[in-house]
Symmetry: C2
Subunit: 185 residues, 2 copies
Amino acid sequence: MKKVKLTNSPLIYPLPAVLIGAVMGDKPNYCTAGNCGIISVDPAAVYTSLDRKHYTGRGILEHKWFSINIPSVDQMVQVDYCGLVSGSKTDKSDVFRTFYGENEKAPLIEECPINLVCELIKSFDIYNMTVYIGEIKETYASESVLTGGLPDTKKIDPLIYNMDNKYLGIGDVVGSGFAAGKNYK
Amino acid sequence: MKKVKLTNSPLIYPLPAVLIGAVMGDKPNYCTAGNCGIISVDPAAVYTSLDRKHYTGRGILEHKWFSINIPSVDQMVQVDYCGLVSGSKTDKSDVFRTFYGENEKAPLIEECPINLVCELIKSFDIYNMTVYIGEIKETYASESVLTGGLPDTKKIDPLIYNMDNKYLGIGDVVGSGFAAGKNYK
């Protein structure tokens, strides 16, 4: 199989498009991020990384809390808008309806089917980015996306961001984890 | 919209299933990971996190190099197998064909359409996980997945891992980044 050397590039795609929430002053602010993922499942810890100059990052460092909100394909226009416009210049507090969890620490997006309340446990700089690692202290789902009490991916219909700068929907199930490999050899 | 509080859980899905490569002794070893993502685009930096006791982690810390390989749906059985079986007990060096990039530092999987050669620039523990951050020093793609010299997602056909422990294919394009949001308001 012939391999071609490309420009150094972090081609880990596709990824869920997410909205990072933080309190800025006394208002909620949301920014769109692709740099986001799982660090640990139990205890549950996640990360996001934002440009050091990023407006939302200031709120995370000030309050030590942030949220990660998983949007549906239905919210694509609002998600993309929150990536186009900086909260430093435009008040984005009314793009979505905000709610707060039991601890009232991080703003959460009502329209997003999944909402994670994260307490900042570590932050550091890498090049021109700041990495924020948060432990998940509360997890919410819209009742409408649950099946038998568990989140149902088809109902969530997550918005996926791809390396070619396109948004995608999810595709069909092709197999099961910790099962498909039993057929090897 | 009624919200339901769930158990704390890092519901950032779906994610690409990836294979982390490292040299163990004098052989390549590959393990399957979902904890993987982008830290910085330029310079290109990425992370993975593995259980502290994880076999592959020892090779990353010893040699300070690792690889991230993006499989296609076609490789689902082998990918899942590499997540079921530990390299500490089973030699997985022949599951895939291995090649090395120009710097010959990290084993890369020929069958995977995208291969990232990463130099470890930072590692730390969070709970029972170790987080490995690598700067990408070489990026390879199979010639067969390029269109006009760039990676083509349809040709890559990436294998996606979902929160319900299912593998998915990618879905249809629903819009364009930094464009769809221009229609807001």
